[in-house]
């Protein structure tokens, strides 16, 4: 019996220690759960930064600029690559818009997370943060409608993985965007209210400009007028003395930028994104850059059609495009080197964009024939430039018949670049001729900045009539090519969506 007692003691000791208290409920030690993150002002701001992040990679770093560029009469693409289908309105790849579609809805999703969480958080900065998120939702729909039309997926709140989105009704998204922006404008600070360290955050002027553009795309000039007037009269913005300062890396606050997407200056660091696309396109393929996208001769001829006040070439020209007569070097090489040494897509068009190509960085570190580093580009991309606002305002005043005022703002833009005032060069233009002049002003001022595609739509020129400037438009099919197909991969997983007409 002694043995048994001993054995029992041993066994009981084992039993006493036998049960662990580790629970099946294990908190994740690596990442916070989304359920309890956006509950403070700090968390909310981080969510907003996440939305800002969506502006960079896959959106304003290349895709939007490139698509807007080649879809307009500014540019063409001759080699049989995917963009060629876009240029010539002969799409066979119905997923071509997937990137912009996905990025836009990511921006909407990240923004609605902030908007919805913001309703439960209190703090002095919360209304401003929520207002910025509302601006982003409106911006994303502005982009979506521009490419896909109004029958895109309707999202006005956070979505669950199992949700299937219905197509928006015509006009519905404009109303949503307008109401979001109207709410946001009151809560957003003026540019002067944004500290230098926060430069790049959304201002009241940005929201007013976007709302004005949304009205203009619907032909609502009267509604746009007070918004543009407010931006101009706010005294927050002015034109840079030097036109080209808008397109290079300058580590200062740019008074001409109404809304820009920041990129990491001179960076290769991984913590945030770089801009790349224009940096990677030249007249021909070499030095590690592509030769896919060519600027139409229409653009070059627009510049050449008028000399400046001193009888010299428009000073904006060489800063905007790299062409046969350019005085500039492109990545250390002359225009003739690019054309003669390399294979050019369309030998009749030997122009490429020069804005935003960061020649300064290359000049600093490049020796001839060194491959261009694709990611080392950091110029901020100005989405809404004050010159654009001024030109739009002249266009609006013209449309509203306010003939006495319509020259003022376009002349500010012209005179900055030493062009004779329009009121002197072409006084007394009637409404139609003034609009034609504005169309010209916008190409020489804004080429390559992603506005031309919207301009053509607004003017009713987004059709075969633009073939005079860009022969690609000759193959435009009405009631189809105004918009892209809804990405096929989206239709495959969401049976509620409806393909756009003609596709």
């Amino acid at each position: 019996m002694k043995n048994i007692k001993f054995k029992s003691i041993v066994a009981s000791l084992v039993l006493l220690t036998a049960f662990s208290c580790e629970e099946l409920d294990q908190a994740n030690p690596n990442q916070p759960d989304s359920g309890n993150f956006f509950i403070t002002e700090e968390g909310l701001f981080q969510g907003l930064v996440g939305a800002y992040d969506q502006l960079q990679s896959g959106y304003y770093d290349d895709a939007l600029r490139t698509f807007s560029f080649v879809m307009s009469d500014e540019a063409t693409q001759e080699w049989p690559y995917e963009l060629r289908e876009l240029c010539t309105f002969s799409l066979t790849d119905f997923n071509i818009g997937q990137g912009i579609w996905g990025a836009s809805y990511q921006l909407i999703s990240r923004s609605y997370r902030v908007i919805e969480a913001g309703a439960e958080v209190s703090g002095p900065e919360v209304p401003r943060i929520v207002a910025e998120a509302k601006f982003f939702v409106a911006l994303a729909y502005y982009n979506l409608i521009g490419y896909f039309g109004e029958r895109v997926a309707y999202v006005d709140r956070l979505q669950a993985a199992s949700d299937k989105q219905r197509p928006a009704e015509p006009g519905e998204l404009w109303i949503l965007a307008e109401s979001l922006l109207t709410e946001a404008i009151d809560e957003l600070p003026l540019a002067s209210g944004v500290s230098s360290g926060q430069y790049g955050r959304i201002t009241r002027g940005a929201a007013q400009t976007l709302l004005a553009k949304i009205h203009l795309q619907q032909g609502e000039y009267a509604e746009a007028e007070p918004l543009l007037a407010a931006v101009i009269s706010s005294g927050q913005y002015s034109l840079n003395e030097n036109f080209e300062d808008n397109f290079v890396e300058l580590n200062n606050v740019n008074p001409e930028s109404v809304f820009q997407v920041n990129f990491l200056h001179n960076g290769v660091a991984s913590e945030t994104d770089n801009t790349r696309y224009f940096r990677l396109n030249s007249v021909a393929e070499n030095l590690g850059v592509f030769g896919d996208i060519q600027v139409t001769n229409f653009v070059v001829n627009s510049f050449l059609s008028e000399n400046d006040a001193d009888g010299n070439q428009d000073p904006r020209m060489d800063a905007s495009v790299f062409w046969a007569g350019s005085s500039r070097l492109y990545y250390g090489q002359t225009h003739s080197w690019w054309v003669n040494e390399n294979e050019v897509g369309n030998p009749d068009i030997t122009n490429s964009i020069y804005k935003y190509t960061e020649q300064d960085v290359v000049a600093n570190n490049a020796t001839p024939n060194v491959v261009v580093d694709g990611i080392n580009g950091g110029t901020d991309f100005i989405v809404f430039r004050y010159a654009d606002v001024l030109l739009l305002y002249s266009e609006v005043l013209n449309a509203l018949g306010r003939d006495g005022e319509k020259y003022t703002h376009v002349d500010l833009v012209r005179q900055r670049s030493n062009m004779a005032p329009l009121s002197v060069a072409r006084p007394g233009l009637n409404q139609a001729d003034f609009l034609a002049q504005i169309k010209h002003e916008r190409i020489v001022e804004l080429v390559g900045e992603g506005v031309r595609h919207y301009d053509l739509i607004r003017w009713g020129d987004y059709n075969e009539t633009s073939a005079a400037n860009d022969p690609n438009f000759a193959t435009f099919t009405r009631d189809q090519d105004e918009v892209w197909p809804i990405p096929q991969s989206e239709l495959d997983v969401n049976p509620l969506l409806v393909q756009n007409p003609g596709y």
């Binding site: 066994a11 989304s34 956006f38 981080q46 907003l48 430069y199 920041n262 990491l264 290769v268 991969s489």
Partner: protein
Amino acid sequence: MKNIYCKEIDMKKINQLLSFILIGLFFVQAAHAQSVVSGTVTDEGGEAIIGANILIKGGSTGTVTDIEGTFSLEVPNDAVLVISSVGYISQEVAVNGRTVIDVSMQFDVAQLDEVVVVGYGSQRKQDITGAVAIVDVEAMQASAFTSITDRLQGRASGVQVISSGEPGSIGTIRIRGGGFMGGNNDPLFVIDGVLANDSQNLNPNDVESIQILKDASASAIYGSRAANGVVVITTKKGRSGKAEIKASAMFGVQQIPKKLDLMNASQWARINNAARDAGGDARLVHADDLSHGYDTDWQDAVYQSGQIQDINASISTGGQNSKVYFSLNNTYQEGVVKGPLFERVSVRLNSEFELLPGLSIGENLMVGRSESSGEQNYTGGGEGALITTAINSLPITPIYDPFRLSGYGHGDFTNAFTFSPNAVGIRDLFKNQSEQLQVLANAYINYEIIEGLVFRPSLSLNLNNGLSRSWQRPGIIRMTTVHQSGLSEFNNRSEDWFQENRLTYNKSFGDHSLTATAVHINQVTRSRASGIEILGGFDGDNAFFQIGSNNAPSNQITVSGDEATTVLKSFAGRVVYNYQDKYLFTGTLRRDGDSRFASGNRWGTFPSVSVGWNVSNESFFSSSFIDNLKVRVGYGEVGAISIGDYAFQSLIVSTSQGGANYNFGPESTSATGAIVGNLNDRNIRWEVSRETNIGLELTLLDGAVALEGEFFMGQLDDLLTEIAVPSAVGVGSAEGTGTVLTNAASSDRTGWEFSVTYNGEQGDFQYSITANAFNSYITAKSLVNPFILADNAITRIGTVYGQFFVHDYLGIYTSQEQIDADGVTVLGATPQIGDARYRDTNGRDEANNLTGMPDGNINADDRIVAGNPYPDVSFGLNFEASYKNFDFTLFLQGMAGRDLINGQYFDLNNDIYSNFTSDWDPYIDGQGTDPRVTTAQDVNGNGFMSTKYIEDATFVRLKNLQIGYTFNTDIIQDIRVFIGGQNLLTLTQFEGQDPEFEGGDIFAPGNYGGGYPNIRTFNAGLNLTF
């Protein structure tokens, strides 16, 4: 450790209950009028049998024989003693008042290996009612493979192992074909009761026995981790008696068994010139001017012969109350290319002590360290593993080129147009190394509370510490690509702790025999990983590749790290019942709770039931040649877990590096953002196998022939699959719709397994043949989409996964008449003479629906299902013989009826920038049988994957051959010397480097792409027993 031993309120009740039972059992003691009987139990040869059981029939009292085979027992005068011992026929002896009873036991030939470990206990083989493969461990140990998994190749029906020759690699093991889409198709390894994975730290020579639980009824005791089968490994234990000291050493040389037959410089130049002529490009300088003098055989440049050695020493001993086994192992293996290495040092100590009759304690301890360097990889822009790169490289590129900056030859646009990096440069400049330290330990108490009731608590640990590093020197070894120096280093540690309490009750009453087992297990796994990657910063000739010794800019240094805790709580029970050794029943039930799932989904129940009928034990059964006939049927439900920790959670991604960040201010100051990083299904759960198994066991001709067959059918349900969600949901990639991993697909799995053993003898010549053959078919039952396309493969509901889906190749066009007669276009373009000719099988109507009718154009719609990526049968055949002092082992393994897409052949011959196989004969100037080549970007279908590249990959491989001779000396009891080899011969029509191939991707299992092939080894060694 502090958490492991803390107490839990809920468990107090269970604790009290168990204590109460224990105390109650003290009083279960019986008393009768008694006398003492003693005696000795011996075998047929008069040797003492240690540990034989002496039981009083109909009672619960008994004893076991000691080291001299003697016993002493108080018995009633009219008692009948039941004497039994494993491997002997039980006897009943009436006491009849005697005080000394000596017993001679008869060997039970048919049941020498009868007790097998089946998970949380052991079972007599004859009681087994599930599909359990018992591996012939002795035959397996003749292999020079360094891992247990690789040595299992071909040893058990239904167990497929695909090995590679890379030192330190562990082959892919699939039991019954796997089939879990979530990705985890590896069986569970249970090593001395500890749930683990196979590891290179384990010394295969320590293995005493391996049982493989194949079907769901047998494996269900392991519940949520059993669906891929369970490999139950028991390591060697000490033996009472004189110390047995063994030592063995094996040395070998390894070489590549097959060099691909590729083109030399002039052959390559002919094709390249033709391609450039056709494309309107100027010929390459050196392709025309072969007097330049380079004709590099890149395979010769990198292949070497490598050494292998394996040294073992072990001691097995024991006293009256103790048993100890100690072993030491050192294994060293070089690669067949310079760089890859494997070295292991592994130590084991297994011991058990009987403190009191019925109370023993024991432990198993393995400490192992392994170090390995894998095949080097080019990571300087474009990937490339060393061997594949060597095969792709052009013969006109020199190995070393003094005119190049780096000194290594590489491609350029005018001389040797190739994007291949220099294979020798990869070998010299790119390095990797990983080290693993593992402690696998368990300690247990075996306490027989009352006769037949054993309580066994144990505590186990599987500790793994890993360090892996890769680094490279800077250089230019590819075209114009400059690669930077760099170093990346990753550390990880994981601890698996297991607390197990097991109660086993064993009772026979009359014709009934019952074994009941109940187990409670707590498992806690804690893992932690950290890593750093540095690009640049190690540029001097004497750079120290240490993370502290870099001078890279801070933005080129990335760090990572995470940790996880996984908790599993399990309850398992098993009842084994046997009536008259005729009717057998086994039932198991396991409940698993797993912290990897959301609350509400954490607990799962995994039941099984199986029955068996020993027909040959029936009184009506009489046969002169059938010794044993058993049929059995079982059904079980088991789980597979393929998801990581916290996968059910919706998580925030917020990191200062690489996160969703933005830079504000004119100076680009970074602000850290936060986004929801994943789409998740909160209800994600185990994948489940529900399987029925029917088995038959037959022994004939006095045990000379043993046959075993299995047939199984079942479903794999709740398979994890990615479901596409609209991008408008907002999470996912901008490149496509997002996906969410969900349990949403299912498969049918059926198959058969067969094995046969024949033992024969003619005088001094004894031999045995063991053969097995098996197959399994996994077909898609429900998928999210009606079909799934993958690389050259399609999966449709009702068919096997990943059937080849390629164009039907009909040769090439050799005349305009043929082109005109066919009248088809390829991707809209009219073919030219020399272009590939394909069968037009399909087209589309105006509504864009497939018509099944030719449409005059060859495009993706014309692909057909062809070939079969799965073997019709896999097999292994082992032949062993001995004659006097000689012994001989021959082992064949193979697969039949399997086709593979030879992607290696396709890649070589469809890339003008790589070398070609020497049999490639493109159409040039009216000559040639393969499609023409051109550098022009014209539209033709010559690069389509087609039936041309589907090859019969049937093979038979002489996996192992060994001849040994054993003799004795005065000092050394046995000396055995042997010579042998591995992979000495392969019979196959497959043109690729190695037909032994595992595709990995369930949706595209048949795309062979090369890699590190199995290698040939010649070895010799000796085994000493002292």
